[in-house]
């Protein structure tokens, strides 16, 4: 997907100034990719770990859907791209937060072992 984004960015120059170059099929493809990225972020628990990025992804996806409703395909594609990068960012931040929490947890266990302090009392 990031390769697609780079390719798309590289192709901004020829697209520039020709709004008609984005048709319904292109916009709907972008919309589908954006929806997939937002769903992936939700599965990655971004609502807990990256709520701001997920909220922005949802807002952009809503904008894209509204634009598609009025057949503004250029706008729909533009907002879809924004929704997608925000979904990707929310997933990445979520992964970062979970990894850092897990590492901190292992570090505490190691510290407890090294000072000889049991972390569990007698149940």
């Amino acid at each position: 997907m990031n390769i697609v984004r780079s390719m798309l960015l590289a192709s901004l120059v020829p697209i520039c100034g020709s709004a008609q170059a984005i048709d319904r099929d292109d916009a709907q493809l972008e919309l589908a990719q954006a929806a997939t990225a937002v769903q992936a972020a939700e599965r990655d628990d971004a609502a807990r770990y990256a709520p701001a990025d997920l909220a922005e992804a949802h807002a952009m996806l809503d904008n894209a859907l509204h634009a598609a409703d009025v057949r503004a395909w250029m706008d729909a594609a533009m907002y879809s791209e924004r929704a997608k990068v925000n979904g990707d960012l929310a997933s990445a931040r979520s992964r970062q937060q979970r990894a850092e929490a897990a590492t901190a947890e292992i570090q505490r266990g190691l510290d407890a072992l090294q000072v000889g302090t049991p972390y569990g009392g007698a149940p």
């Binding site: 990031n2 390769i3 984004r5 780079s6 960015l9 590289a10 901004l12 120059v13 697209i15 520039c16 100034g17 990655d44 628990d45 807990r48 533009m78 791209e81 924004r82 990068v85 925000n86 990707d88 960012l89 990445a92 931040r93 992964r95 970062q96 979970r98 990894a99 850092e100 929490a101 897990a102 590492t103 947890e105 292992i106 570090q107 505490r108 266990g109 190691l110 407890a112 072992l113 090294q114 000889g116 302090t117 049991p118 972390y119 569990g120 009392g121 007698a122 149940p123």
Partner: protein, 258 residues
Amino acid sequence: MNSRRIAGASLSVVLLGLVACAATPHGPPAGIVRIQAEQDRLHSDPRIAANGGVELANADAAVATLARNARMLSPRDYEQGLYLTDKMLQTAEASALARDAERRGEQLAIERERAGARTRVAMTAGEPRRHDERGPMQDDRERLFDMQRRLPNSESKVDERGLVVRLADFNFRSGDTGLTATGENSLDALARVLDDEPQATARIVAFGGEGERRNRALAVRDYLGARGVERTRLDVRVTTSGAPAGGTTGDVLIVVRE
């Protein structure tokens, strides 16, 4: 007269040219300067430079493309390119830091295993311990250590109670009894271990009294049950003591014994 007019016209042309040159901004636009500075910051951070992967490579390509074409783009396309590139840089940073934390976690897990082994050696070097009903037999301990090795990303230890796996307060969603993804990962691994060890039983101990704490223990039992561990092998207990030593209120310990 004509030569004067020609000279005047030439002077005007030269002056117009100078004005046009002065009015044309030099150097890249401010937005490009900002994202290039951000790109430099990411590359100067060894944690990000070493773990950037495809995300950082794509962000680099996007910055280069945008910088090269910034002056040819319409304001709308330029703003769009700037927005996407900025988000790609942020994604590259988060992905790289996630990989860095995952690698550190793996290294710490190995270190923790070694520290646990040193503790075992220290214990066995002392006065021989009498095996009673509270402590697992030596063969059982070896099996428990074997089980522990199969839980590399969980906080666990083997002591006189058995294999003790700790689910910390942050492994549960705040204000909820549901497990976070990290907590689920720990229990997934534990369920696989219990599946391989049909003789093992687990006591799930919640700290901090009744109510939500007990519900957390029940959530752990239900999660393990949903992954094929028989309910008869799972015993739920609640203790009113505030927290295990070294832990916090809201921790749940899972004590596995052969």
